[in-house]
């Protein structure tokens, strides 16, 4: 229905073309904007990353089932989106993740056991963000997009945008989900990033679900078009295509580093697993949908492409499989060995400068704890 004054309301827009370089059938296609060449080594690297990260995810899920983790947020199905985004980074770039970015953590050199520690309840993030240029997992959905934008404003103030030096020019990535796109913080981050032309790439993995709510509940228009209202470009990429995700993210990061400002990437993908290990997706979605997305599996299509073009042989695939087994074995072993933290330390972590108040409470706890030791 067209309003005589305001014009037509946008209908629920049809899905637009997405940038794709590798079809679900494993066929290499070309895109005028993002025609990249990939070396055999690079392609094998993507494959290896995705297989290992999937293994990491499966192993962690199993550890949760065995009672070793309190919770796990699975990335199953989103390997290409995360490895593509992670491998496109320059070392100096900085990443602000959600709680599901295990693949990006992998690319940033964060030991998977650190992720287990968080979900085991040993700590709330034990990697050094400054060492990996990878922030802590953020559970309040969308909050980290503002941190990313502020960090990018800091990068601008440091004069590290548009110098032309590829080793120094820096961009920031803000990860978030389709559900988070409705949060005020994400929209405020868009406003700030646009207003200050901050070098930040907003990377939204639209995995079609926010726990039980389908994407349609969040938006009447394709998500990538949200950015247009804020005054910066948006693009949709096949998030199950590691080549396309890599190429698009790399170009967006480069653009940001050059000083051309923010961009929104919608990586169109699917959450193949449950939201987390406490979730039961059979209550809200059809297994037909999942079957449909299985045909678009990110790893299978790359494997087909590698084999068909003679870029990987049985030896290579066996080698990666063995590496995955070893990773799984190490994760199990080191997870079991993770020591519980000491309650005594709690008070030391609250502030940079501990207060007398907290020191007194800590001493009281210590005395209380010691009274039990004497009895036993």
């Amino acid at each position: 229905m067209t309003d005589p004054v305001f014009g037509p309301a946008p209908e629920r827009a049809p899905d637009p073309e997405l940038v794709q370089l590798l079809t679900p059938e494993g066929e290499r296609v070309h895109h005028p904007g993002f025609d990249a060449d990939f070396s055999a080594e690079q392609l094998r690297g993507f494959y290896r990353d995705m297989v290992l990260v999937r293994r990491l995810d499966i192993e962690a899920t199993a550890l949760q089932r065995h009672g070793e983790l309190g919770l796990w947020a699975q990335l199953l199905g989103q390997e290409a989106a995360q490895i593509g985004a992670g491998r496109a980074l320059a070392p100096q770039d900085y990443v602000f993740p959600t709680y599901r970015e295990h693949g990006v953590a992998w690319c940033r050199g964060v030991d998977p056991v650190r992720l287990l520690a968080l979900f085991r309840g040993v700590d709330q993030g034990s990697w050094d963000p400054a060492e990996h240029n990878f922030g802590l997992y953020t559970i309040v959905i969308g909050a980290q997009t503002l941190h990313a934008t502020g960090y990018a404003m800091g990068v601008q103030r440091d004069g590290l945008v548009g110098t032309g030096d590829p080793e120094r020019d820096t961009a920031v990535v803000a990860h978030f989900g389709d559900g988070a796109s409705s949060q005020g913080d994400v929209n405020e981050a868009f406003v700030f990033a646009a207003s200050f032309n901050a070098p930040v790439v907003f990377f939204c993995q639209n995995n079609q679900w926010a726990i039980s709510e389908p994407f349609e509940r969040q938006s009447r228009i394709p998500l990538y078009r949200r950015s247009h209202g804020f005054g910066f470009p948006g693009i949709r990429v096949d998030g199950n295509d590691v080549l396309a995700t890599y190429a698009v993210t790399k170009a967006a990061l480069q653009r940001a580093r050059e000083g051309q400002g923010p961009i929104l990437i919608e990586a169109y993908t699917y959450r193949m697993g449950a939201h987390t290990t406490t979730d039961d997706p059979t209550r809200y979605r059809l297994s037909d949908d999942v079957e449909h997305w299985k045909l678009k599996d990110p790893i299978a299509r790359l494997e087909v492409y590698l084999r068909r073009n003679g870029l990987a042989d049985d030896d290579f695939l066996a080698e990666v499989a063995a590496e995955a087994d070893a990773l799984g074995e190490r994760m199990r072993r080191e997870c079991h060995a993770l020591p519980d933290p000491s309650p005594h330390d709690l008070w030391d972590l609250v502030h940079a400068e501990k207060t007398a108040e907290l020191a007194a409470q800590q001493a009281e706890y210590d005395a209380h704890a010691a009274s039990f030791e004497e009895v036993s």
């Binding site: 602000f96 700590d123 709330q124 993030g125 034990s126 050094d128 963000p129 400054a130 922030g135 802590l136 953020t138 309040v140 909050a143 997009t145 503002l146 941190h147 990313a148 934008t149 502020g150 960090y151 990018a152 404003m153 800091g154 990068v155 601008q156 103030r157 440091d158 005020g184 913080d185 405020e188 981050a189 406003v191 700030f192 207003s195 030391d348 972590l349 609250v350 502030h351 940079a352 400068e353 207060t355 007398a356 108040e357 907290l358």
Partner: protein, 325 residues
């Protein structure tokens, strides 16, 4: 030595902090070209540029959230919340991020941020411009909370808060911005930020206050003295951590304590002080600890705000009651 209003003292303190450390950046609504609606940042953008004094979009969560990112990049953001009642859009970022990042990261991430909030009433304003939200922040582990009550403290405390490596909620008694005038000695040695202070010695009863109610209590003590009663007045200055050492010491001598703040009494800072003083000074107390504060109603329309705000009579009445036990 210069005579300054509280507003000018804050302005001078901010200027000094910006000169001392070029990582200090100021951000907020109207803080740049205009110099803030209360003119606290007057002239700073002109002198330090718009990369360091940033007029932000109008979104409090956005302001505090981006300040977190700047802090992670090594900056020391000083955020201005335009009025107390507008801090709530940023509440999530303050409570879940600013306050917790040091803890969550096991000390690897520091957020040396100052969140300046003009607080309290008495300026005849419309709704949301006269509130005292301090208890919400005192109740949040990870934050430090201070309140200045006079120009000399304001000048020093704002610099100390900026220098601190922890996030500090910095409360400014807006009613006193342009009325409180005093000599500020820029070279005087500074008292530690995390200490409360006896601002008027006395022997019969103790008054504890912070921010705008310190002057109310000093006035009450002057009147009480004329009536032959000697009241000791303590300016808390720091609300988190609470420094109650001088309060305990005082109550052990006077046996009587009245806590005065504009915030609602229920679960206010006064309630915490009453609990702690009862624990520490039980045998010295001659009367229960009394609280004088804002009623447990929303802040009222301006024409009747004087009834809501603790004034000299309500303070003296409470003191009288402590002698009635």
């Amino acid at each position: 030595m210069t005579t300054m209003t509280l507003a000018k003292a804050l302005n001078a303190g901010l200027r000094k902090a910006m000169e001392d450390d070029d990582k200090v950046v100021i951000m907020g609504e109207d803080v740049g070209t205009l110099g803030g609606v209360f003119r606290i940042t007057d002239g700073l953008q002109k002198d330090f540029g718009d990369a360091r004094v940033i007029d932000t979009p109008l979104a409090e969560s956005g302001i505090v959230g981006t300040a977190v990112g700047l802090a992670m990049r090594g900056y020391r953001p000083v955020v201005e919340i335009q009025f107390d009642g507008f801090v709530y859009p940023a509440y999530d970022q303050i409570v879940c991020q600013v306050a917790k990042l040091h803890f969550r990261s096991q000390g690897r991430v520091r957020i040396p941020m100052v969140i300046r909030i003009p607080f309290g009433g008495g300026i005849g304003a419309v709704e949301h411009h006269s509130e005292s939200p301090e208890a919400q922040f005192v109740h949040t582990p990870g934050l430090k909370v201070v309140a200045c009550s006079n120009p000399a403290d304001a000048y020093v405390m704002i610099q100390q808060a900026i220098h601190a490596d922890d996030p500090v909620v910095f409360l400014e008694p807006k009613r006193l911005y342009h009325s409180a005038k005093a000599d500020v000695d820029e070279s005087a040695p500074a008292a530690p930020l995390w200490q409360s202070r006896v601002v008027r010695p006395g022997s019969d009863a103790t008054l504890v206050a912070y921010g705008p109610t310190v002057s109310t209590c000093l006035d009450a003590a002057t009147v009480a003295a004329e009536e032959g009663r000697s009241l000791e007045v303590i300016d808390l200055r720091t609300l988190s951590p609470l420094d109650l050492v001088p309060v305990h010491e005082s109550v052990r001598r006077t046996g009587r304590l009245v806590v005065v703040h504009e915030a609602h009494v229920t679960l206010g800072v006064g309630a915490e002080i009453a609990a702690r003083v009862t624990e520490e000074c039980f045998h010295s107390l001659e009367a229960p600890v009394l609280r004088v504060g804002g009623f447990d109603t929303p802040y009222p329309p301006a024409r009747i705000e004087e009834a809501f705000l603790p004034d000299l009579d309500r303070v003296l009445d409470a003191v009288d009651r402590t002698f009635g036990f």
